[in-house]
């Protein structure tokens, strides 16, 4: 039986197929309009491994945080596949996946994902044998506040994720901070965490980690008047 993992939360789209261990994977950098890439990758993985669709028994999905459109592509594809094949979708938080990938470190792990508009999703972890534990709740933080937070923090720490998007390189190179891989979430990172999750929601209860309320400013001219009608 095969398992499929996918991640579309950032600049990279990736899919990987497993049968106990990794069989094959793809990672591609996307520009705008990445919509066809994911299914192409999945199709190629099945071609390459000669796996049959009906032998797929679980999907591991990166539910964010990250770029909204990418996340929705990942969700739509997994729900289309999961719905037809009747298999569970195991949602995995991308911040957790990044931290888990660095769990052999002995430092505090700071996980960082770009969510555009000069903001990051951020979460801190401590390594424990075989994994990591969250030290804080995931939060949205502006680049400026992140820079302050990191430079005020005297702990020895490891930075994983989109740290290359921080322009103030002085923070990144101070003596307490080490920059580490992974720099972005891959399907493999997602699988490695997802595999440990035993309690997952029903397919229709999977929610994306948007972390922000939707922007509701209407783009077109918003008229509003105070009209006095006779009735």
């Amino acid at each position: 039986m095969y398992k499929l993992a996918i991640s579309t939360s950032g600049e990279y789209v990736s899919a990987a197929i497993f049968e106990e261990k990794l069989l094959a994977s793809f990672v591609s950098k996307t520009n705008k309009g990445s919509t066809g890439i994911l299914l192409n990758q999945i199709n190629e993985l099945f071609d390459k491994t000669k796996a049959s669709r009906n032998d797929l028994n679980a999907l591991y999905l990166d539910v964010g945080p990250g770029y909204y459109t990418g996340l929705r592509i990942g969700l739509s594809v997994s729900q289309g596949l999961g719905g037809v094949l009747g298999i569970p979708i195991i949602p995995v938080n991308g911040l957790d996946a990044l931290a888990f990938a660095a769990h052999t470190s002995h430092r505090k792990i700071c996980s960082l994902i770009d969510i555009k508009r000069n903001e990051f999703a951020y979460c801190e972890y401590m390594p424990v044998p075989g994994g990591v534990t969250r030290e804080s709740d995931p939060q949205v933080i502006s680049v400026e506040n992140l820079e302050i937070k990191l430079s005020d923090d005297a702990d020895k720490k490891l930075l994983v994720g989109n740290w290359d998007l921080i322009e103030n390189k002085k923070i990144l190179t101070d003596s307490n901070t080490k920059l580490a891989e992974p720099r972005f979430v891959t399907a493999e990172n997602i699988y490695n965490v997802g595999e440990k999750i035993k309690d997952y929601p029903n397919f229709n209860e999977i929610n994306l980690e948007y972390m922000r309320e939707p922007d509701v400013t209407l783009s077109k001219d918003t008229l509003s008047g105070n009209v006095k009608f006779y009735d």
């Binding site: 919509t35 066809g36 994911l38 299914l39 192409n40 999945i42 199709n43 669709r53 909204y68 459109t69 929705r72 592509i73 969700l75 739509s76 594809v77 997994s78 729900q79 289309g80 596949l81 719905g83 037809v84 094949l85 397919f203 229709n204 929610n207 994306l208 948007y210 939707p214 922007d215 509701v216 209407l218 783009s219 077109k220 001219d221 918003t222 008229l223 509003s224 008047g225 009209v227 006095k228 009608f229 006779y230 009735d231």
Partner: protein, 333 residues
């Protein structure tokens, strides 16, 4: 392609999550999950809110559609979905969901242009409709006069140079606090109102088949701002007058195009085509001018997935495509 094939269609280009199943000429199911209540408080469709809602709704809509029409997934022969035009964030949800359903079923996938969907919608109720025909496509996102010379040969004669007709309804409705969407709200309020009470312009443009609605909206707002308590203007009279101005503008130019092209068959589509005053006028015109009118019913005029199914089927038939050919070419782009 044999006529009894089962087509599963998806449409998520704006604020309706829609799924339909068609077997031959029969519509097995046509489900629309509207987001009107969600967007109501903003007075318009908010793109990010719409995409989030599509992503949450589509899975349940898919399962309930399949369950309700009692078919087995394996009976589906082809999957079709709108691939544009529309709100990018909304389109990706239906398109990717549809394509992955096709992939999982190992069935061909067929992408349909949203406007071709509207042009083909009358075929659901009038399978005998044939080109050439002239269609008036009017909604919150589009206002177009399209000459369908033959299936696949679409000649855009005119479109709006500013707001779409539906936007003209929405914007004024927001200004007056009539509700969202503006078209149905204004139609309801205008019941029993006098359409001649307020004189509003019927804007013209330099291209004879193009529309313009922003001047009308501005004129109406200007009129309302000057209004005093003593004027005793009834809401229903104003709504009826505004609706009449939009409907007249739509009809004037459409009729001009009908006369100039000399077509015998006329048609329409889009959310504004569900407006009862517009339908009344278009029916009146066709009856008095000896034209064949192929109007989709209101439910099939607004965005829906049945039109995607019928458009896919129609394109496959006209292009003499075999579904095995599509399987090779477009199951994965």
């Amino acid at each position: 392609m044999q006529s009894e094939k089962i087509i599963l269609g998806f449409e998520t280009s704006c604020d309706e999550t829609a799924i339909a199943l068609m077997k031959g000429d029969n519509l097995l199911i046509n489900k629309i999950s509207s987001q009107v209540e969600i967007h109501e408080k903003f007075g318009g469709v908010v793109p990010e809110v719409a995409s989030r809602a599509h992503a949450e709704m589509i899975r349940n809509l898919f399962h309930s559609s399949i369950n309700e029409c009692g078919i087995d997934l394996s009976e589906i022969d082809i999957v079709a979905s709108t691939d544009g035009p529309g709100l990018a964030g909304s389109l990706v949800v239906g398109y990717n969901f549809a394509k992955s359903v096709a992939w999982a079923l190992e069935k061909p996938f067929y992408a349909v242009d949203h406007m071709v969907g509207h042009l083909s919608a009358p075929l659901i109720e009038h399978p005998n409709m044939e080109p050439p025909f002239l269609s008036l496509l009017v909604s919150g996102g589009h206002t177009q006069i399209v000459l369908v010379e033959e299936w696949g040969k679409y000649n855009l004669l005119g479109s709006t140079i500013d707001d779409a007709a539906g936007e003209a309804f929405d914007k004024l409705s927001r200004f007056c606090g009539f509700g969202f969407p503006g078209g149905p709200a204004i139609q309801k309020i205008s019941e029993g109102g006098d359409p001649k009470k307020v004189v509003l312009p019927r804007p013209k443009t330099s291209n004879k088949f193009d529309y313009s609605f922003s001047g009308l909206k501005t004129a109406a707002v200007y009129f309302l701002r000057k209004l005093s308590e003593e004027d005793q203007l009834l809401k229903k009279d104003f709504a009826a007058s505004y609706q009449e101005a939009i409907v007249d503008s739509l009809m004037d130019i459409f009729v001009k195009a009908i006369k100039e092209t000399g077509v015998k068959n006329i048609s329409g589509g889009g959310g504004v085509m569900a407006n009862s005053r517009l339908r009344e006028k278009i029916v009146f015109f066709s009856e008095n001018n000896n034209k064949n009118l192929y109007l989709p019913s209101p439910r099939l005029s607004t965005d829906n997935a049945a039109m995607i199914c019928v458009a896919a089927k129609n394109e496959l038939i006209t292009n003499k495509m075999n579904i095995d050919d599509i399987r090779l070419s477009s199951i994965i782009s």
